[in-house]
Subunit: 311 residues, 2 copies
């Protein structure tokens, strides 16, 4: 229910959020940093998730008989995707960066001293090199810069062996992480108008939006709930804590922010190498146990504070 | 057994082909032209079939956490494929066109009067436009020019809905139709060396060859068997016949040509709109019946000729 496809929680908040007697909101869908610090999130990237569909011939065609004459939906889709994000990691959708709010000088200063970010990401990614938007620091690229990634692609003959078809259709799932103040609706319209212009003469390109997505969110960082959560995290996990902007999206956060009048604290218990959204996603038992302790400590500390405030 | 994956027929011909007492070879794996003419093939394009494999991170990664830092195998594969064949249909593999034999002036002259080729191909393909190598006629593009087509592509999340992964791997099946005097071995080596240079820093590209493929073939056109076959086709099907070079490949033809000392006649009974290698591939019953008659006529006519020659 908290992801882009959810509908019930969103509807409930719209109808009843304002009537809830809420002191604070805990959104526990994050985790720890690569150096073991607890992370509290002061902002979330938004997301726009689309499918780009390419259609050429009326059916798959024999590549010997028709090769040299028939358009190939897969070759053309490759041209479209290659043109959407260039080799320097820049997204070419017109106006894509127009509303991007730059990181503040304080954020840039804090991130410049972020220990071992590159080494940690290199370790987690395990590729021969990291990639991303040219001219931007790694900390900006994963927090305050938007992205465009192909999440999946398919078309034509995908079993073992050889089949000599020219695919009539090919499709890519393409999503974008958005940052303040990009608007998903506006970016979608720009993409839907732009992608067809990147096609070849024989192939039709259609961009479909899979869900409403999520706008980017900036959360506050100075509430009593935030202070209590930081203290509880640091004590239970015997570590430091850090405020960051998260690169990921939690679509329902915007609904909580819109409809419930209460400070939001966003964090979580997953360790950095938890393989989030990947095969073998996992939570170490130590974090599970300390997480129970953290919640007890949080409710104790914050409960005292709320009682004091109300008394 | 006649396709690229076949091994038994090839081995048999190598061991026993020279000892067979063979008058002629009929290879019946073709069909009729768009205007109803019977087609006899005087040459076949060859084929080289590969898989291009892209590998970035050690596993699929969350696009929110790692977007802006992790290489994306699918985005990079799109860059590689887009660069391999440009928007004008030219293949960019170094040396790809070096050994291409131009069509003869006689062929070009005959094809310039080929009735309705473009209309027929447009009808069969059913796309909004035909595509192919810029600066070459349609007849050349489907007969005497080499091609490069993505036959299949896959990677990442391909089910319904949204999953925000950065794919660690993506793969494309990529095959090339080759023409005289291109050599599959040489083209493969050039592609295997070239494709990795089209990658991005974080993604490794590997080109795998799926089979030996087939070299292009030029067959003779003036044998007694060819004359008898043309006459039998024209009589049984009440139509004209035409000599063309086929765009497709029949890998075992090269083995027959190498190991059996006999003229080759290559044709077939499939009508033009038979959906070859596609869903609903079909043969109309009229062609089945007339095909039986054609073969009876051929063996009668050619048998007389062989008897006369031997007597």
């Amino acid at each position: 229910e908290e992801e882009g496809g959810g509908t019930v929680l969103r509807r409930y908040l719209g109808e009843h959020g304002a009537t809830l007697d809420t002191d604070c909101l805990l959104i526990w869908d994050g985790g720890f940093d690569f150096d073991g610090s607890a992370v509290l999130t002061t902002g979330l990237r938004g997301i726009l998730y689309t499918e780009i569909h390419a259609r050429g011939a009326r059916a798959d065609l024999h590549s010997g008989v028709f090769g040299g004459a028939a358009p190939n939906a897969a070759n053309t889709l490759a041209h479209v995707l290659a043109a959407l994000k260039d080799r320097d990691g820049r997204v070419t959708i017109p106006g894509f960066y127009d509303d991007v709010r730059e990181a503040t000088p304080q954020e840039l200063e804090e991130w410049s001293s972020w220990p071992q970010l590159e080494g940690a990401l290199n370790f987690a990614v395990g590729a021969r090199a990291l990639e991303g938007e040219a001219g931007r620091s790694l900390a900006e690229r994963v927090q305050t810069r938007p992205t465009l990634d192909v999440n999946g692609i398919w078309g034509g003959f995908t079993d073992a062996g050889e089949k000599t078809v020219i695919p009539a259709e090919a499709t890519a799932k393409v999503s974008m992480r958005l940052v303040p103040d990009q608007e998903p609706d506006r970016i979608f319209e720009a993409l839907a108008a732009y992608a067809p212009t990147l096609s070849t003469p024989g192939v039709e390109i259609e961009v479909r939006r899979l869900s409403a997505g999520a706008p980017p969110v900036v959360l506050g960082s100075d509430s009593a709930a935030m202070r209590a959560a930081r203290q509880a995290l640091e004590t239970a996990f015997e570590t430091t804590s850090r405020l960051t902007r998260a690169g990921y999206s939690i679509p329902v956060v915007i609904d909580f922010q819109r409809h419930v009048d209460a400070p939001i604290v966003s964090s979580g218990f997953a360790q950095f190498d938890c393989n989030v959204h990947s095969p073998d996603e996992n939570l170490v038992l130590d974090h599970f146990g300390r997480g129970v302790e953290m919640m007890i400590r949080f409710f104790w500390e914050y409960g005292k504070e709320v009682l004091w405030t109300r008394s």
